[in-house]
């Protein structure tokens, strides 16, 4: 069997293209429902629970989530399911208690930085908005590449040029309908995308389980010595050369990142702020436990099945690993371990169904991109441009949001084309997300629950989050090379840097707030 063998045919392309055109029509149609800025940014705060659930799931269950979860499933097998357990447990806790999200919705702000201004100062708002956009765009930087890698692997297109053309095309499509219809367009397309994606995920899971079988899945743990216990630091699987370990440090770091992201990641928070009331916000989190568990667990299962498939096809595994090496050495095809899952699906799902599944995955890609683009560009307008150069009328604000969306799109394309991650995709996302999350955690939680939370403390916390840049792969490599050149045996790992960033921000916030409290009016 050839590595790029696929059941994807012209019929599958037709299905995908028809689906894409439908999304464009919906986006154009939704434009008629945008009456003012609130409609454009938060759909006039009209979301009820089912629609909110569909759009929250559509946004957070992106193709990038599917890709990084499947990559973890392939590299770390069952042990990587700890992330699914984390998300479900934390969402359940937030949904039951309403921690942060209930009070945040009560403030009736449009964005998190707007809350910074109400609680602290305009300067904190501008700084917080800037950090949020920098972190968000860096975080989104590899979405395009992951999406295109899925499409090229599943359709059998091997040339890196196709990867670039597909990246550009997908981005232009999402930009088109999001710029036109804003959040109204996002909500309607998210609902369609949620249904297409949801059915697609269940269909894929059915094919995956029947292709590998119960024996194949259990043999991952027994015959192939797969990774089962996430508290182990070393990855016992000898089949893959680059299957990183997890261990207590990474478990702690991921707990911090996942918990904070669930409450305060801007795209999720924008759903919290778009719902009708604080009670709906709380309910949204409670009910999101199920889709968030599934968004991690099902793609991990596909990755585990891909591992099992390659383990039982040693020739194919050898070809795959050669292709990864050749790609890393500058070959024409772009292949990494992210490609394992789509290469596997391309061989087991029949023609026609493969087109529907691919349309579902493209739906996942678009539903994440549209929300993210709208979210970051909304922050640029509301929290950076308007406070600095305002006052601005609503027409101008919508125009600036649209321009910001175009600029961010161009940056994503540029970043996606040249940046190569040296870690797995999820680690990259956790690290880039930390730049924002480490600062927002103390600033928002402190602001909502601690009377002595102060403006200077907020500045320190937000700037402290920028130390998260030190956890990026190339910078860690440089730090370690420097340590090695000075014959110091210590080696820095990214989980240590991420925890350090959270520590710097939170401790800095508390200490500075206590030492330099805000002046209260007499």
């Amino acid at each position: 069997m050839a590595l790029y063998a696929t059941n994807f045919t012209t019929w599958d392309w037709v299905i995908v293209v028809v689906y894409l055109l439908t999304s464009i029509v919906i986006g154009v149609w939704a434009n008629r429902y945008v009456g003012n800025l609130s409609d454009y940014l938060v759909a006039g705060r009209t979301l009820r629970i089912r629609l909110a659930l569909a759009t929250m799931t559509g946004t957070e269950l992106g193709l990038v989530t599917v890709m990084y979860s499947a990559e973890l499933g392939y590299k770390q097998q069952y042990a990587s399911l700890y992330l699914a357990v984390y998300e479900a447990a934390f969402l359940l806790a937030i949904g039951l208690t309403g921690f942060v999200v209930y009070r945040l919705r009560q403030t009736a702000v449009l964005t998190i930085p707007e809350y910074y201004e109400r609680r602290y100062s305009r300067g904190v708002r501008v700084l917080g908005g800037t950090v949020m956009v920098v972190s968000g765009v860096l975080n989104m930087g590899l979405f395009l590449k992951a999406g295109a890698q899925f499409l090229t692997a599943i359709s059998g297109l091997q040339d890196a040029l196709f990867l670039k053309l597909i990246m550009t095309g997908l981005l232009l499509l999402v930009l088109f309908y999001t710029i036109l219809g804003g959040m109204v367009s996002v909500v309607i397309t998210d609902l369609v995308q949620f249904l297409v994606l949801g059915v697609g995920m269940l269909v894929v899971t059915g094919y995956v389980v029947s292709a590998v079988g119960w024996d194949g899945l259990t043999q991952v743990a027994t015959l192939h010595h797969g990774y089962i216990d996430p508290t182990r630091v070393d990855n016992p699987s000898r089949l893959l050369t680059s299957g990183a370990g997890i261990g207590p440090g990474t478990l702690l770091m991921q707990a911090m990142v996942v918990f904070t992201a669930l409450m305060l990641w801007p795209s999720g928070a924008s759903r919290t702020l778009s719902v009708k009331s604080s009670d709906v916000a709380k309910k949204l989190y409670l009910y999101s436990t199920v889709p968030f568990l599934a968004r991690r667990a099902l793609p991990v299962l596909w990755g585990i099945a891909a591992f099992s498939f390659f383990a039982t096809h040693p020739d194919l595994l050898a070809t795959f690993q050669e292709a990864i090496q050749s790609s890393a050495d500058g070959g024409t095809a772009h292949v990494t371990q992210l490609s394992a899952m789509p290469l596997f699906l391309a061989k087991i799902i029949p023609t026609g169904v493969l087109g529907l599944v691919t349309a579902g995955m493209v739906a996942a890609f678009m539903s994440t991109h549209d929300s993210y683009l709208l979210c970051w560009s909304g922050v640029v307008t509301q929290d950076i441009v308007a406070p600095l150069f305002g006052p601005l009328n609503q027409r101008r604000r919508i125009a600036i949001t649209r321009i910001a969306m175009l600029v961010i799109g161009a940056m994503l394309l540029f970043w996606g084309l040249w940046y190569e991650t040296r870690t797995d995709l999820w680690s990259y996302m956790a690290v880039t997300g930390t730049i924002y999350l480490a600062g927002v955690l103390p600033v928002v939680v402190g602001g909502l629950y601690w009377k002595r939370a102060g403006t200077r403390g907020a500045y320190v916390a937000l700037l402290g989050g920028m130390t998260g840049i030190l956890a990026l792969g190339p910078i860690i490599e440089r730090i370690n090379a420097l340590l090695a050149s000075r014959e110091i045996s210590l080696r820095v790992q990214n989980w240590q840097m991420v925890l350090l960033t959270f520590g710097v921000s939170s401790i800095g916030f508390a200490v500075v707030s206590l030492l330099f409290p805000d002046r209260t009016e007499a």
């Binding site: 009456g35 759909a43 609503q394």
Partner: protein, 59 residues
């Protein structure tokens, strides 16, 4: 099968069953909610059309 594998199997099976339930829950009610949302938004677009000066007020 050890304790970890039992946990992971429960997580995987729970995900599939829960996701099916969610699709049914959302699928059978979201269209009605979408209609309500569009009706409410129509009021905004009407107000913007009747009073375009609102959009020109600087805030």
């Amino acid at each position: 099968m050890n304790g970890w594998m039992i946990l992971w199997m429960v997580v995987l099976i729970g995900s599939v069953v829960g996701f099916v339930g969610l699709l049914l829950l959302v699928g059978f009610g979201a269209i009605g909610e979408l209609r309500q949302m569009l009706d409410e938004l129509r009021a905004d677009t009407r107000a913007a059309a009747e009073h375009p000066e609102i959009l020109d007020e600087a805030t």
